[in-house]
């Protein structure tokens, strides 16, 4: 446990020193601010009611779930795996006394922490912004549950990127392939709606299931189990490749 803690602390320290984290936070903040200005302008000056105060945070979540969240998560995952393989800095960690499973898990926990941090940051900012838009207290419970649910598909996508990072030889190919898979899965969801429920990309907005008056728990559980299955398979496959890799 001590080794895993040391790996995790090191990985958190490393990503905190990277400019990408600052850029991710700046872009996330800018997105919320721009959206807030647009919504406020439409609501007050154009006479079009776009969203209420609760819906603003959800609208932000929906837009960022398909753009900034997966994009910066991809950057972080590629840096932590393909990037370290490419510049050989992975040797620094792998010649330490922590076993590969602990290094792998430490890195995965770090990615999860980054996703949670980014979601919390955007949630707080969007709630604050929504107070200015509508001057009403938003339904915090629904917002918090939505942001918690949004974590899972983004995390699954990060596991896909980690798997790709362990297959490809460079950072560019890992990035291109990750984007290709993201777009292909989204495209498949549109082209073949019958297989949509099996594609993790179609669950990026699954928190919408708790927003209506009627909550379909069986569908929520079904999607949760599908995502859990994805998670288990991707962690197993990613670790298999990470463990077998000759440096």
């Amino acid at each position: 446990m001590e080794m895993l803690k040391a790996v995790y602390t090191n990985e958190i320290f490393k990503i905190s020193k990277k400019k990408k984290i600052t850029v991710a936070l700046i872009f996330s903040a800018l997105s919320v601010i721009v959206l807030a200005i647009v919504v406020y302008s439409l609501n007050n000056f154009a006479g079009i009611r776009v969203t209420g105060s609760s819906e603003f945070s959800i609208m932000v979540l929906t837009i960022l779930s398909y753009s900034i969240f997966p994009l910066f998560t991809t950057f972080i995952c590629i840096d932590m795996f393909a990037g370290e393989f490419a510049d050989h800095t992975i040797k620094f960690t792998l010649t330490g006394p922590a076993s590969r499973i602990k290094v792998f898990l430490g890195k995965i926990f770090t990615v999860a922490t980054f996703i949670i941090g980014n979601l919390v940051f955007v949630m707080v900012l969007s709630v604050v912004a929504s107070l200015f838009i509508n001057k009403n207290i938003p339904n915090l419970f629904k917002i918090i549950i939505s942001y918690i649910m949004a974590f899972m598909p983004i995390f699954i996508f990060s596991l896909v990127v980690i798997l790709i990072s362990n297959i490809t030889k460079g950072t560019t190919s890992a990035f291109m392939l990750s984007i290709f898979i993201f777009l292909t899965f989204n495209g498949l969801g549109f082209a073949f709606p019958q297989i949509k429920s099996f594609l993790f990309t179609s669950t990026f907005d699954w928190y919408r299931l708790i927003l209506g008056n009627y909550i379909n728990f069986s569908k929520i559980i079904r999607i949760f189990l599908i995502l859990l299955g994805y998670g288990i398979m991707l962690i197993a496959a990613g670790y298999y490749l990470f463990e077998k890799k000759d440096i």
């Binding site: 080794m3 040391a6 602390t9 090191n10 320290f13 490393k14 020193k17 990277k18 510049d87 050989h88 800095t89 040797k91 620094f92 792998l94 010649t95 330490g96 006394p97 922590a98 076993s99 590969r100 077998k244 000759d246 440096i247």
Partner: protein, 241 residues
């Protein structure tokens, strides 16, 4: 005698048919073992397997009695190493890199970090980012990291690369002092015969992936005028076997 490192039937073959074949050797505690061989002989491959960066096709390595393939954490607990080249994180300072390494050990604090940087002569650059370091400075940092946790086994792949004359002499003195004072075992690879002759008390010659011979430096220098002559004679006699 207490064995610090035991290598048994170690083999690894690459797609181009190069690699290492059936390497067997034992290194006593406190010994400075020199692994001598030309470029591409398989020195780095052997060392990568020794520290778990690569998997062997056959055979195993035991460090302090623990198998590297079955009990990695116990085997590597008391090991410091530089493999191939020093690869610290370029966007961090020397101190931050040392701190990353220190987190794996309970007894490494800031005083120990400063001490290691002082021994290797880079204490005044401790807060500079690695991307501004020269090759020699990176090499010194690598050695500082390798000795940070006071390991009883140190594995160094071409440790004198990039060092100036003064740096090489200091490193040699450091290796000999740690071996005598703390019984630290060193496994050093190099293609520089002179450095091996001056530093190591046992030498193994690796050629085309095969371990040709192992002997003590004392014995070798009794029978040959220099380690270089011994090396050339061994390669001549057994190199094509």
């Amino acid at each position: 005698m207490d064995k610090a490192i035991v290598i048994e039937n170690l083999s690894k073959k690459y797609k181009n048919n190069r690699g290492i074949q059936d390497i067997n050797l034992e290194i006593d505690r406190g010994e400075i073992f020199g692994f001598l061989g030309p470029n591409g002989a398989g020195k780095t491959t052997t060392m990568k397997i020794m520290v778990g960066l690569m998997k062997a096709d056959k055979g195993d390595v035991r460090i302090n009695g623990y198998s590297i393939s079955k009990d990695y954490e116990q085997a590597m607990k008391n090991v410091g190493c530089i493999i191939e080249n020093v690869t610290p994180f370029p966007y961090l300072t020397a101190y931050e890199n040392m701190k990353l390494w220190g987190r794996f050990y309970d007894d490494v604090d800031d005083t120990r970090i400063d001490k290691s940087l002082e021994i290797t002569g880079i204490i005044k650059y401790k807060n500079e980012k690695i991307k501004n370091y020269s090759l020699g400075m990176k090499q010194r940092l690598g050695i500082a990291i390798a000795i940070l946790s006071n390991p009883n086994v140190v594995i160094l792949d071409e440790p004198f690369n990039g060092l100036d004359v003064e740096g090489m002499v200091k490193m040699r003195e450091l290796i000999i002092r740690l071996s005598k004072q703390y019984k630290t075992t060193f496994f050093i690879s190099s293609h520089l015969v002179h450095d091996i002759e001056l530093t190591c008390d046992k030498v193994g010659i690796l050629y085309h992936g095969k371990l040709l011979n192992i002997d003590s430096t004392q014995n070798i220098l009794k029978n040959y005028s220099s380690l270089e002559n011994y090396y050339l004679s061994e390669v001549d006699l057994n190199g094509d076997a």
